[in-house]
Amino acid sequence: MILDVKGVDVNYGKVAAVRNVSFSVSKGSIVALIGANGAGKSTILKTISGLEPCNAGEISFQGQRINGLSPQEIVKQGISHVPEGRRLFPEMTVGENLSMGAYLRKWGGDTKNDLDAIFEYFPVLKQRIRQKAGSLSGGEQQMVAIGRALMSSPKLLLLDEPSTGLSPIMSQTIAKIIRVINEKQVSILLVEQNANLALTIADSGYVLETGSVVLEGNAQQLLKDEAVKSAYLGI
């Protein structure tokens, strides 16, 4: 297991956002967390990357406890977070945004290779390298956000709602690239409202409702599950 989340509680003030959530991501796999708005999916990602404190339970990465560490230390260990809503530095160019992602590394051969790999995943970014990130289309911004996260050379990538606000075709493109990234030995934890998209590319999935895991299993089985179908797939 590359990531193990055990009995985690997260409270915002007195309100419990996440209650006793446990799940794990095995090395080299894609795991989807699905659920409606407010189910606590984004909160879980923020807690893993150290942006929100965890009130109970334990999060371990490669067998080592990481809850309580600062976001910087967690990035250094190899977890990279693509926050919700394609968050970029809008005034910076595409190239500058990407280089910010490699902040903790020395610029040199390795980072150049990673940059080349990102341009292979997203050829359009190479043409846009000098353009301000804020002027790109939604899909291109999502590509920059994912690219920036990859520039820290992560072992685990946390993706928060990568398909939000994108056209179905663009969502499919992003989904395909997530698979390609995964084939390069990057484990992925994917949070999505679009359960169909998430479960199609994931190996396993967890369904969250009001802060708790209510269902878990193989992604293919979840896609066929009657409860999931009616609640999240609109079938």
């Binding site: 990357s49 942006l51 600062s70 976001p71 910087q72 967690i74 990035v75 250094k76 977070h81 926050p83 968050r87 970029l88 530095f89 809008p90 005034e91 910076m92 500058e96 280089s99 910010m100 992602g101 902040y103 903790l104 000098r130 353009q131 301000k132 804020g134 002027s135 920036r148 820290s152």
Partner: protein, 327 residues
């Protein structure tokens, strides 16, 4: 970051030639007096801008200039140091004090940071006016602050008594300060300051300790406020607590905004433009001076929200390249 254009380099060289040959153009004492004040204000406006770069407005910036001024004066008159050691030491003292203040206040953002720094500015003014009067001189402040001089052996002695000599000293230190700030701006650290001002939470999630960089940004800004303070004290010769009260930060804010926030040369252009305007051209208007001055500032902000430094873009945008404009 602004793109480098050939025209920019030519303009800078032209400005330098004019500045260096100034004494051959005029001998008027008033002109050199104002030019010296412009230099000091440029350093101060640039120091204010250095903190704006991390997305915060420091209302205590004049108070830090005051700390630099009092520290430099006391180092010369009480400790007996020469000006050449007192200036960097005073700037360093200012930066160290700002580190402590930064640790306390940078947890607050926006309006809270503004209020906290406002309080700090008042605190410094009240302390300097009422405490340690034998050292700080109380409300009348400190007078007879000596001008610097260089003595190398018994042969060479340059004293900076005349305005023209002091002008060259200030010119040199101003150019040095701008060069250092511009170097920082183009460094990785400058890039991170810029990132923090755009989105602090995103900077954090990339794995950057934004607090550390914000404190560094404040310390850099206050270091140069200290430089400006030391120069001011030894140039004017008299300092009082009200010179550095909170209202004295307002005009420099206008310099920064009119010139162009977040750029190294914006504060330089803004300070020069507005100070030349008010000291050489608007003086004749008497009663209407401030009215016209205010209208010009409002006009620039209305029609050039990115400041005078955006004039080239203004012109070049008629020949658009591939570059897109942000939303």
């Amino acid at each position: 970051m602004p793109k480098k254009i050939g025209i920019e380099a030519i303009l800078i060289i032209l400005a330098l030639v004019v500045l260096v040959t100034m004494p051959w153009l005029t001998q008027e004492t008033y002109v050199f007096h104002i030019l010296c004040l412009i230099g000091i204000n440029i350093i101060f406006a640039a120091s204010l801008n250095a903190i704006l770069n991390i997305g915060e407005l420091n209302l205590a910036q004049s108070a830090f200039m005051g700390i630099g001024a009092y520290a430099s004066t006391l180092l010369v008159t009480r400790v007996g140091l020469s000006f050449w050691f007192a200036l960097p030491l005073a700037a360093l003292i200012t930066a160290v004090i700002s580190l402590l203040i930064g640790l306390l206040t940078l947890r607050f953002r926006g309006a809270y940071f503004l209020l906290f720094t406002f309080l700090f500015a008042e605190l410094i003014r009240i302390l300097l006016s009422n405490f340690g009067i034998s050292v700080f001189g109380g409300i009348p402040g400190l007078t007879n602050i000596p001008r610097p001089s260089i003595e190398l052996g018994s042969l060479i002695k340059i004293s900076f008594d005349s305005k023209i000599e002091f002008y060259y000293l200030i010119l040199l230190i101003t150019l040095g300060s701008i060069a250092i700030l511009s170097r920082i701006d183009r460094s990785r650290t400058g890039m991170i300051f810029w990132a923090i001002s755009q989105s602090e939470s995103l900077t954090e999630s990339i794995g950057i300790d934004s607090m550390k960089f914000k404190i560094l940004g404040v310390a850099i800004g206050c270091f140069f406020a200290g430089v400006a303070g030391s120069l001011y004290a030894h140039f004017v010769g008299i300092i009082t607590p009200t010179d550095f009260a909170v209202h004295s930060v307002l005009a420099p804010i206008a310099y920064v905004v009119v010139g162009g926030m977040g750029t190294v040369f914006g504060p330089v252009i803004g300070t020069t433009f507005l100070m030349v305007l008010s000291h050489f051209f608007l003086r004749e208007l008497g009663f209407y001076e401030l009215l016209v001055y205010g209208l010009i500032i409002v006009g620039i902000i209305r029609f050039m929200p990115e400041g005078l430094i955006s004039i080239p873009n203004f012109i070049f945008s008629r020949f658009p390249e591939a570059s897109g404009s942000g939303k």
